[in-house]
Symmetry: C2
Subunit: 230 residues, 2 copies
């Protein structure tokens, strides 16, 4: 923690922000845990309080810590996960981006569904069933169901027991929905039908069926997106 | 651009940083393009220059713009792509993380190799051949070849013509190598052999062979990582 600050080209607040990250990971601070106060950190890292404040601002903008006024500085939920972490909004051709994201989903999600069918616990399946039902209710009321839909696919990723998948899937899925809004009734009926197929396959712990159902689901999505772009 | 700043809970510099992002995307500014100066931006967005400076700091910490002293503020290469965008360093069990990342690679990269075999141009194949050779030279001299290795796999992702893959692959691959250093000679021989297989399959535009070669390559990597963790 107290290593020399001099042999580095980065600006001081940037360097100090890296040291605070190491403090968080070394002490295994979790989401919601409080950081030492400004005064203590300034002493520990042998820098001024102004530098600590600048470093904290950097960490806030990276969604690593949050400041609760009058309380102190805390580790964020999902620390380090920022909006649009792969820089999608800076890509020029949004239509191509949407189709490329469909291609990525078609590669990853059928395999995730298969892993989920192999590895999901009974509690996770109950949770998945609950969220699937919530998507259906929103669809039937013709309300915006995008966020719930992302939650459904994120839960399947969680059922895979792969710790990275729940971080990747929402990024890919919301990347598509930033640019394209798919809420037409024709597709929501298709969403309900194919979500049920995926859910049943996972409930039956049938990886092949889960893979096939996810492929059908994603293909109907992709067809819709293609017609919207064209 | 000049929409009201008031109906939003975010702090002012945060809001202004979002407006500057919109300015970059609306004007289609590319990597290396210069932003308007502080004074002009302050006028356009009807805020003080101090707020512009704070907003720019946020964008610097998100790797969207960089300040070149005495020159001005410029759009970064790969804007919005930060180090560790999926927050891997905050995950507790690094051994499990490394194996989970191997699982993700095993799902994505064989398909990318197959797409690359279908879609790579002759120029891209020449470039791939050059980088493969550079990896081999480093391996033979028993030098650190990790960065070149990431470049090789990133190039294959580029050959796939999917614009998202070149952003995902380096994140996944460097996530593994942050925690585990695989440079032992036994594996580098295996790396040279399987890289050649992948390269030849892409040269021959043979997707099945490319997929199979990538699986063999990743499997030898995963076996090595498993023994290191155990």
């Amino acid at each position: 923690m107290l290593e020399s600050l001099n042999n580095n080209k980065k600006l001081l607040p940037e360097q100090v922000s890296e040291q605070i990250i190491r403090l968080i990971t070394d002490r295994q601070l979790k989401a919601g845990d409080k950081l030492p106060n400004e005064f203590d950190m300034a002493q520990q890292l042998s820098v001024g309080r102004g530098t600590i404040r600048e470093a904290i601002k950097i960490l806030v903008s990276r969604n690593i810590v949050e400041i609760r006024r009058g309380c102190g500085t805390f580790v964020c939920d999902h620390p380090g996960m920022i909006d649009d972490p792969l820089g999608f909004r800076f890509m020029k051709d949004k239509g191509k981006l949407a189709l490329d994201l469909c291609e990525v989903r078609m590669i990853i999600e059928p395999e995730i569904a298969a892993l989920a069918a192999e590895r999901a616990t009974e509690e996770e399946i109950e949770e998945l069933e609950k969220v699937a039902k919530e998507v259906e209710v929103l669809c039937e009321q013709e309300l915006q169901h995008m966020e719930k839909d992302i939650e459904f696919h994120g839960l399947i990723a969680k059922c895979s027991k792969n710790t990275v998948m729940p971080n990747i899937i929402p990024v890919i899925q919301s990347g598509i929905s930033i640019f394209i809004n798919i809420t037409e009734y024709s597709l929501t009926q298709e969403t309900i039908r194919t979500h049920r197929m995926i859910l049943n396959a996972i409930k039956n712990h049938d990886p092949q069926e889960a893979r096939a159902a996810m492929i059908e689901h994603l293909e109907s999505n992709r067809e819709k997106i293609k017609t919207i772009i064209a």
